[in-house]
């Protein structure tokens, strides 16, 4: 029995170490953002919230945040509409070649982001859509739609189609039955898909970086290029803001829909 206990404690110790490793960069960035020094240092020397104020007063950062939020909202709305409809059609309607279509809808997930980025760079240049918001939004819908399809399909598979049938028999039209019966039932999947979609769009660098036009800048690309120019605590400050927002968002999503089930 002692060997058993020892093994259990060793395993717990390892899990704690690995979780520590996973959290290490998060802790380091948060600490670095509080330093009074003009260079990045951990542990921080002197404490200040000045770098946060500096970032929030920087019009470049503020407009990048706004642009990223707008792009993620538009992309999520688009991929949610198209993705929910497609998942429903693939599971509930007999469509010839359904397996192939499902594979196509999931393909952007396995393609390297950089390949999608350069392919769209060339294509948009060809059809004069380069540097436009429309092009960027379409690109983000392409890379986010697999997440919507996956989450919605997973939930829809667990819902008895007879429930919607019953509504139809009782006189509801197709759309009414969908919106009043099926949609409320698959809400957790739709919410998870929307969250994934938003995060994937908001975080994207490898596709955005090829498609941003003059005067357009997303937040992650802004941070990415800022790091290449030189590192200071203001980058740690904006990173810490993202850490806090992501952490709070994830905790809320976990309590709301049991987010871990969808990962």
């Amino acid at each position: 029995m002692t060997a058993e206990r020892l093994r259990a404690w060793l395993l717990r110790g390892w899990v704690a170490l690995v979780l520590g490793y996973l959290m290490l960069p998060v802790v380091v960035i948060t600490l670095a953002s509080l330093s009074r020094t003009s260079y990045l240092t951990v542990p921080p020397r002197g404490l200040t919230l000045g770098w946060f104020a500096k970032v929030l007063a920087d019009p470049e950062y503020v407009s990048a945040i706004m642009f990223s939020l707008l792009l993620a909202l538009v992309a999520t709305a688009g991929s949610l509409g198209a993705g929910v409809a497609a998942s429903f059609a693939l599971l509930r309607r007999r469509v010839p070649g359904g397996a192939g279509i499902a594979a196509l809808l999931n393909a952007p997930l396995v393609f390297p982001g950089v390949v999608v980025g350069v392919a769209l760079l060339q294509f948009f240049a060809l059809i004069h859509l380069n540097g436009t918001f429309v092009g960027l939004a379409l690109a983000h819908m392409v890379i986010t739609i697999p997440y919507v399809v996956r989450a919605v399909t997973a939930t829809l598979q667990g819902i008895d189609p007879e429930l919607e049938h019953a509504a139809r028999v009782l006189g509801a039209s197709g759309p009414v039955a969908f919106f009043t019966v099926t949609l409320p039932l698959i809400r957790p999947g739709v919410v998870a898909g929307a969250l994934f979609s938003f995060i994937v769009s908001f975080d994207n660098v490898p596709v955005s970086i090829f498609l941003l036009g003059a005067g357009q800048m997303t937040l992650p690309v802004k941070i990415f290029t800022a790091i290449e120019y030189g590192v200071d605590p203001s980058i740690a400050a904006i990173s810490t803001m993202l850490i806090v927002v992501t952490g709070v968002g994830l905790a809320v999503a976990e309590r709301w829909i049991g987010f871990h089930r969808f990962v």
């Binding site: 309607r93 390297p112 950089v114 350069v118 392919a119 908001f202 850490i243 871990h260």
Partner: protein, 281 residues
């Protein structure tokens, strides 16, 4: 149900994927066989030059080899580090289980640039890792951990570890506890039961997790760029520079298509293997 309604529902998604994904990717094929003249640009005609160069020139072969080596080592590292964690999270009855799982998910959802930036701070000459190594007396002078293989390995392992753990949790949860207990009752030691029962039964998860991490590693752009700098190149950063710095789109298209072929071959293999192990189990 009427046949047309399915197509109408599919139309927006299908249109999007064909117009803004399949066609653009397909168009890279003709581009990759166009001659490129510096300062002039893409010219008409046909050439296999970009592919020949990519597969024979030692500069490119080194980058391809490095990318694949990185894929293999990162995969092995995430597997070794992540398996015990997945095992614990799949088997524990702790009421903290969901929140511990969320702790694994959290880095995954956190902005990739932010996570990589954390590693830049950690791995720098005067970063926390070097400070710790010196404080422990393990090294005298700072170890170079940025812009080389070690740095990329540490950073990429961190980035892709959650994927491996999550896939393995799913696989291990699918193994009934009874099977292990039966092996123990029949006289197997803990190690014997693990090696001959649990580990083989989690093989489908190991295979799909490994292929997933390998594919993600060789596709990664942001982390190799920031931790490797402009000189320590992998395939993704090579493609990035070809398109945005050197403006040689034909060569870049050839490189992008090679990377895509490698990735798709592995994903196909993964599907075949999954079906194979599924049939045997």
């Amino acid at each position: 149900m009427r046949d047309g309604s399915g197509w109408r529902l599919l139309a927006p998604a299908l249109l999007l994927l064909v117009v803004a994904f399949a066609v653009p990717v397909g168009l890279m094929v003709p581009t990759s066989v166009r001659p490129y003249v510096p300062l002039v640009g893409i010219t008409g005609g046909f050439t296999a030059r970009h592919y020949v160069k990519l597969l024979t020139d030692s500069y490119y072969l080194e980058i391809i080899g490095r990318t694949l080596a990185l894929g293999l080592t990162v995969t092995a590292a995430t597997l070794v580090v992540g398996y015990p964690v997945a095992f614990f999270l799949a088997r524990t009855r702790s009421r903290w289980r969901n929140w511990l799982t969320i702790l694994v998910v959290f880095p995954l959802l956190l902005n990739l640039v932010v996570r990589t930036f954390g590693w830049m701070a950690l791995l720098a000459q005067n970063g926390l890792v070097n400070q710790a190594l010196r404080a422990l007396g393990l090294v005298q002078s700072p170890v170079k951990l940025l812009f080389n293989f070690a740095g990329l390995l540490i950073g990429l392992t961190h980035i892709f570890l959650p994927f491996m753990v999550l896939v393995l949790i799913g696989a291990i949860q699918n193994i009934p506890r009874d099977v292990e207990d039966a092996a123990r009752v029949l006289g197997a030691s803990w190690g014997g039961a693990f090696l001959r029962v649990t580990l083989p039964l989690s093989a489908p998860g190991i295979v799909s997790g490994s292929i997933l991490v390998f594919v993600l590693t060789i596709s990664a752009l942001v982390t190799p760029r920031l931790l490797g700098g402009p000189t320590y190149q992998v395939m993704s950063t090579l493609i990035y520079d070809e398109f945005l710095q050197r403006l040689n789109w034909p060569a870049g298209s050839a490189q992008a298509l090679l990377l895509t072929v490698i990735v798709l071959a592995l994903v196909y293999l993964s599907g075949r293997l999954a079906r194979g192990t599924g049939a045997r189990a």
